[in-house]
């Protein structure tokens, strides 16, 4: 793969990264792999695959591309689109078992919310190893005898990533704004400019207001408001439009064409302000899943300090007390309720607990994933 092609794919897919971009699933040889070469696995979001291949240049390895419906690993695994079935399928149908003498597959750590290592082992005989969060850390991870450092397994949201997400949101919304061209050619450029300014401003200024997202209330996760769950912002918007309409009518300037233009333009801005900003990164709670209102609870009777939770937590919430052989929720305020630790704990020692004391069992999270928009219908116990 040439650098030019890599750059081209990166640009196009960054602009359109809120959409799924599936690439071909199956086995890819990196370099000149042999019978002891590492086997890595990732989802089939094209941008991810390109980044992993880019990171692996100069190494010898097998790369398995599993079907994550063209969606990135984190969103697909957490949303139930990238599951044990996809991993089992590519392990068993790609023929990789005939090419290597070992049975160790390295999975991206951010898939731990949806892929259960125990199930993979039971169904295929392959041991799962959680690799680093970022593809660029893979060479260092392999060189260090497949050990992840704390930094490798912790998700951050540096300015480059924030810039990426700002572009990913601004570009498609700009395309919506372009639809105004036939009726309002003069207004499109300022509107597009406004969209990019708001989007870049929101994401780049993230550290200034991120404290807000540590709240546990109903609004946790949304930058300003959640248009989908509350009608108030829409009512305010309609109210403002009505006031503007009446004012121009009283001044004798009212025209329907103006009303349409300003109505559509302000709707574009409203969409942007109401987006699930924190859901754009695994660093913060997404506003879209109800489980963000729950708390992780540890059953010390069951815990054996095996550290599965510590290895898959993207927020480094856990510490292991090796003397007592017990996990400790050292930084509970940082938890984003992704559920990865619950899914992976072999002793079912972790679960979600609501403020009213109700419990969401590990089996529920494993089977139905997170409660995205109330989608999980099975009863809680």
């Amino acid at each position: 793969m040439t650098r030019l092609r890599y750059a081209w794919v990166a640009v196009v897919q960054t602009l359109l990264r809120v959409l799924p971009f599936p690439t071909r699933t199956g086995l890819v040889r990196i370099g000149n792999p042999g019978r002891h070469s590492p086997v890595l696995l990732t989802g089939n979001f094209t941008l991810t695959v390109q980044r992993v291949r880019h990171a692996l240049v100069g190494l010898d390895a097998y790369l398995l591309i599993a079907n994550s419906r063209g969606v990135n690993v984190w969103c697909a695994a957490t949303g139930g689109l990238f599951t044990d079935h996809d991993v089992v399928s590519v392990l068993k149908t790609s023929g990789v078992d005939r090419l290597v003498d070992h049975r160790r597959v390295i999975l991206p750590q951010l898939a731990a919310t949806g892929i259960d290592g125990k199930t993979i082992r039971r169904k295929t005989g392959w041991h799962t190893i959680w690799g680093p969060v970022e593809a660029r850390d893979i060479p260092a991870f392999l060189a260090a005898n497949q050990q992840v450092t704390r930094a490798m397994r912790t998700v951050t949201f540096p300015w480059v990533r924030r810039l990426e997400m700002a572009v990913a949101w601004a570009f498609p919304i700009s395309l919506l704004a372009l639809a105004l061209w036939p009726v309002w050619p003069d207004g499109v450029l300022p509107l597009v400019g406004l969209v990019w300014t708001i989007s870049l401003g929101l994401f780049l200024a993230f550290p200034l207001y991120e404290q807000r997202f540590h709240t546990t209330g109903k609004n946790a996760g949304f930058i300003l408001f959640d248009v989908g769950q509350r009608g108030l912002p829409i009512l305010i918007w309609l109210g403002l439009l009505a006031v503007a309409g009446v004012a121009t009518w009283l001044a004798g300037d009212f025209s329907w064409s103006q009303a349409w233009k300003w109505g559509l333009a302000s709707l574009v801005v409203l969409l942007l302000l109401g987006l699930d900003l924190t859901g754009s990164t695994p660093v913060y709670k997404s506003g879209l899943h109800d489980d963000r209102l729950l708390a992780i609870a540890l059953d010390e009777q069951r815990c054996r300090g095996a550290a599965f939770c510590e290895h898959v937590c993207p927020k480094d919430v856990f510490e292991i007390d090796h003397g007592q052989r017990l996990a400790v929720l050292a930084r509970p305020a940082d938890c984003v309720q992704c559920g990865a630790c619950i899914v992976q704990c072999p002793f079912d020692a972790l679960h979600f607990e609501g403020r009213d004391g109700h419990v969401v069992a590990p089996s529920t999270i494993r089977e139905h994933k997170l409660n995205l928009l109330g989608s999980r219908r099975s009863p809680t116990t």
């Binding site: 079907n67 599951t83 996809d86 149908t93 959640d226 699930d276």
Partner: protein
């Protein structure tokens, strides 16, 4: 907000699956399934690969067969279970949350009929090869494979016409259900490669939808001498 709308649509997709598929195939699927299950007799052991919401499974069970349906989508299976209860077919139907890669756990020659509706076209080439090899292994000698699925029409003009006609339907279906299907390529050849001979095929929708019956051939590597 933007993601909210998208996710709301996505999570409701399993409930809309059947409707979406009916739209995409102009209602052909239901009729094709009815035709296929006529091959099934009471008391036969049947496996439905990718049973989804149970369209083929329940039809086969209603004919008196004992059916095992597998699917990798827990939400679809939940709907299938509801329907199974409504039609009082629990005694003859067994549903499992399994993917095609787990077919190797099924018994050899354990089924009289294996069937699959709109599943093979969803599989990757690796998965389809694996699945068909397993189908051959799971079928009794002379057992039948029943398939209703989208295929790519043969002939350049037919293919072009198919793509043009299909494009707006794909958009409509995606908007309504966030589901779409892909056409399987060279299905009959692939069946032949693993020792399944097509004995009946009906094409419809400009040759893009197939309803086929294939029979397990005697194993060429172990001919009659083995019996």
């Amino acid at each position: 907000m933007s993601t909210y709308v998208l996710m709301r649509l996505l999570e409701s997709a399993p409930h809309r699956y059947d409707r979406g598929i009916q739209i995409l195939t102009f209602g052909h699927v239901g009729r094709a399934y009815d035709r296929l299950v006529r091959q099934i007799s009471p008391g036969q052991r049947v496996l439905d690969i990718g049973c989804g919401t149970g369209a083929l499974t329940l039809r086969a069970a209603a004919r008196g067969a004992s059916v095992r349906g597998i699917d990798r989508d827990a939400e679809m299976l939940a709907i299938a279970r509801e329907r199974m209860a409504q039609e009082h077919l629990e005694d003859r139907v067994e549903l499992a949350d399994e993917g095609v890669a787990e077919l190797d756990a099924e018994p050899a020659a354990g089924y009289d009929v294996v069937m699959s509706g709109l599943c093979f076209s969803e599989l990757s080439p690796d998965e389809l090869r694996y699945t068909l090899t397993q189908v051959r292994r799971m079928l009794q000698p002379g057992g039948l494979l029943l398939v209703a699925d989208e295929v790519l029409p043969s002939g350049f003009v037919a293919r072009l016409f198919y793509r043009v006609v299909r494009a707006p339907m794909v958009v409509l279906t995606y908007l309504l259900t966030q589901q779409t299907t892909h056409a399987a390529r060279r299905l009959a050849d692939r069946l032949n490669d693993v020792g399944l001979a097509v004995i009946d095929e009906q094409r419809s929708l400009l040759g893009s939808f197939t309803c086929l019956v294939a029979r397990r051939q005697d194993d060429p590597a172990a001919p009659a001498a083995a019996t």
